[in-house]
Symmetry: C2
Subunit: 477 residues, 2 copies
């Protein structure tokens, strides 16, 4: 029997964004029900068990300065952070040679350094012309949205080395090839994250800190406080709006509410049937959302042995698999963990991975450990453990970050977050600041909650949404 | 109770491709079951009722010379075709002025005609370097796949008028903005269709003929012959492969078979859970498939009154809604029908439609009839009927044609049609010749059937590349 409930607001999706929305609504005196398709909370955050009492993060794992809303939430939940390990020299490996370096800037050739700087300057100058709330209104929006970041880099970076650096840095944060992602989308993200240095760096950057116990603790703590309001394992099938409210039908619970907040990526929202039909712009945005996915690969050692050699564990390389390596050991260093990201979109620069790397776990592991051995010596060849988390095959989550393919931002504009009658949209994809980050997930939730509270639970629709009731259909003469 | 069946091959999807595959398998002595999610056969072909005994086509409607496989199927099914009405003068309307013209070439300004010709020449020259079976191996594949057709046109067409002509022609056949679609994808399609003239033209082109009774008769006749083998209203939930065969679980029937042919767009195939996991390349291709959608708008009159004025009913315009108009009356001219296509992706050139046009049926109808009145006079203002078919809100079909966003072809290469164990892929999206057309649907089916009959080894498409006068017909509405 499907359970029936009545509430003020239904939230669909128990990731960080959905659970934040539910908490803020509850704090404002609203009753809530959170419905989650999967069998756990956390969405794109999760823990992997490394050893007794030791975890590592299988999904989003970093927070940094300027990410004020997620940092405030961590405070509120009394969750501690610790610094990503950076002590020691990092490795820059290219064309078969390793160089060690201090600080954040790899020892590129002098010409490549100058080239990198001029490209960065131009990108940040372009990004400053992109209005965060409406990137499609930038003067050159149409041109920038009609091509890819990779295409622009090919034409504007003069050295291959600088191009490789940008590719390495942005492929990881985007989980897709730069030759797929809209230049305009990237400029908006650069602006929304406060510049390229902030995006790329650990210290003073977006990768500065981790959460003790793993970032999934955020969702778990939020869910604990919400208690029975959270229903997992219950895919939503349909959302039906009418003049008086909204009915949400899911596998385990049917809920009648005043409003609904959908806290999923737009790609995943497309799974839900909405009646009456969504506006065309929203429907097409969902259907054309270009999800990105990558895997995290972890090699586990009995201790972080590289630290004994004066190494930080960080590496930037042109090796087959381990393009970017970072020390992901637990805060006490009780075991050593090296992490890399395997973008499913391809090995940068438009080349694609061999199928063996993508689909043969043994071959992938061997290639990864081979790369680590090149960087950190023979000790790296024999880990005590090896873990992966693949985001390209999750049943209810289409991928990691994803974005809008070329043309989408100028065509579908604000359909990612414009309310549709009683339906409001959260999820980090709908944030204008720190989109794609945990901070964006919290910001989007808090914005959606404000919309709901401003509308009043049972009040009429805000006038600017009134035209949304128009739907198209086949009309016979 | 879910019914249980055992068969040689399961086909998922009862569109033209799936039903063609089932017929060819049955002809080869294989037993088949066809499972369809929706409540009817035909997929992206369907009829709309205009009046007693009069229909018009809501989906793909045209076939043309050189589309040998669909023409052979029409012969086999004893379905008749008739010529799209072209007698009389057509209208070229731009900047408030209408000009009448004969033949296929609108009276552009002399400079725009020269410009159009040079762009066409360059595109066709580029297209000739793109291998049909492997566009990603073209020498400039990486560059061409990293940008959009619209971006290239902006840079290479010198006159706005020529740019507008390309946009009008290609937006309709692609059902998406040229500023979204990969240049490499378009070059491959130009090559696969035998040139731009064939794509654009009615006479001697892809829009030359229609099917008496509507193109949905193809699927209906195929289904009649297959009888109980076709199960509708039964969405497939899971496909599970093992060493001995494949199990297909759907709402109304569970089937055990040796092999399965999935005859759906890759976007829709993503709805099905596959175990073990699909290869990453295939999974990501499905998740990143960039579906296109547009609507067909029909104004119905008691007779084709424009013919009395010496007009063909065809128009190419820069009006708000009716960018391209064509006479879509039934073969006997018993009523008059004017058809236009409303691309949801935007009004060409990166601009987007006002929401009122997209989502307010009354406003859209008024705008369309206003445009027709400009073109064909006051009589056009008062149709006896008005119909629409919208492909942006179908529950089981994500859109019309769609394509691969920039970067997809070079990254995921042949994942659209490479068999995965016992799973084979059909659907017009997997055709290399006349992709996106009814002819591609048949070709893809026949290629998939060859694979199955060869016990899984990869087959080429039935080849009649020899006749490069090959023409194509739009399966998109």
């Amino acid at each position: 029997m499907t359970e029936l409930r009545t509430t003020d607001v239904v939230v669909i999706g128990a990731g960080v964004s959905g659970l934040t929305a539910a908490r803020r609504l509850a704090q404002a005196g609203q009753s809530v029900v959170v419905i989650e398709a999967g069998d756990r909370v956390g969405g794109r955050t999760m823990n992997l068990d490394v050893a007794d009492g030791v975890i590592t993060e299988g999904g989003g794992q970093w927070v940094g300065p300027g990410q004020d809303r997620i940092l405030a939430m961590l405070d509120e939940l009394r969750l501690d952070t610790f610094k990503t390990h950076v002590d020691g020299k990092s490795i820059y490996h290219r064309r078969g040679r390793s160089k060690r370096y201090d600080g954040t800037v790899p020892p590129l050739s002098p010409l490549a350094l100058i080239d990198f700087a001029q490209v960065q300057l131009r990108l940040e100058r372009m990004a400053r012309t992109v209005p965060l709330d409406a990137p499609w209104t930038a003067r050159r929006a149409r041109t920038w949205d009609a091509t890819t970041f990779g295409h622009w880099l090919d034409a504007n970076a003069m050295t291959e080395e600088a191009r490789e650096m940008f590719t390495a840095a942005f492929s990881v944060t985007n989980a897709e090839s730069l030759h797929s992602t809209s230049l305009l989308v990237q400029l908006a993200r650069i602006r929304g994250a406060g510049g390229i240095d902030h995006t790329v760096n650990i210290t003073d950057g977006a990768q500065e800190s981790r959460v003790v116990g793993g970032t999934v603790r955020i969702a778990e703590r939020l869910a604990e406080d919400l208690g029975d309001a959270v229903v997992v394992d219950s895919p939503v099938v349909e959302v039906a709006q009418d003049a008086d409210g909204v009915s949400v039908r899911s596998v385990r619970v049917d809920v009648r509410a005043d409003r609904v907040i959908v806290a999923m990526s737009p790609a995943d929202a497309a799974r839900i049937r909405v009646t009456p039909d969504l506006p065309t712009r929203r429907s097409m945005l969902q259907r054309r959302w270009s999800i990105g996915a990558e895997s995290k690969l972890f090699a586990v050692y009995d201790r972080p042995f590289w630290r004994e050699q004066g190494l930080s564990g960080q590496a930037v390389t042109d090796l087959p698999v381990a393009k970017y390596v970072v020390d992901n050991s637990p805060p006490d260093g009780s075991v050593g963990i090296l992490l890399t990201f395997l973008g499913t979109a391809g090995a940068g620069c438009g080349e694609h991975w061999p199928d063996a790397i993508l689909d043969d776990p043994a071959a992938r592991r061997a290639a990864f450990l081979g790369d680590l051995t090149v960087l950190f010596g023979a000790q790296a060849a024999n880990p005590t453990g090896y873990l992966e988390k693949d985001w390209a095959h999750e049943p209810w989550i289409s991928g990691c970050v994803g974005s809008r393919a070329p043309g989408s931002l100028t065509q579908y504009t604000d359909a990612d977050r414009r309310p549709v009658g009683r339906i409001h949209w959260a999820g980090t994809e709908t944030a204008t600041i720190n989109q794609g980050y945990l901070d964006g997930a919290v910001r989007a939730a808090e914005r959606a909650v404000q919309e709901v509270l401003n509308c009043g639970s049972v009040a009429g629709e805000p006038s600017d949404h009134a035209d949304r009731s128009g739907r198209r259909s086949v009309t016979a003469p």
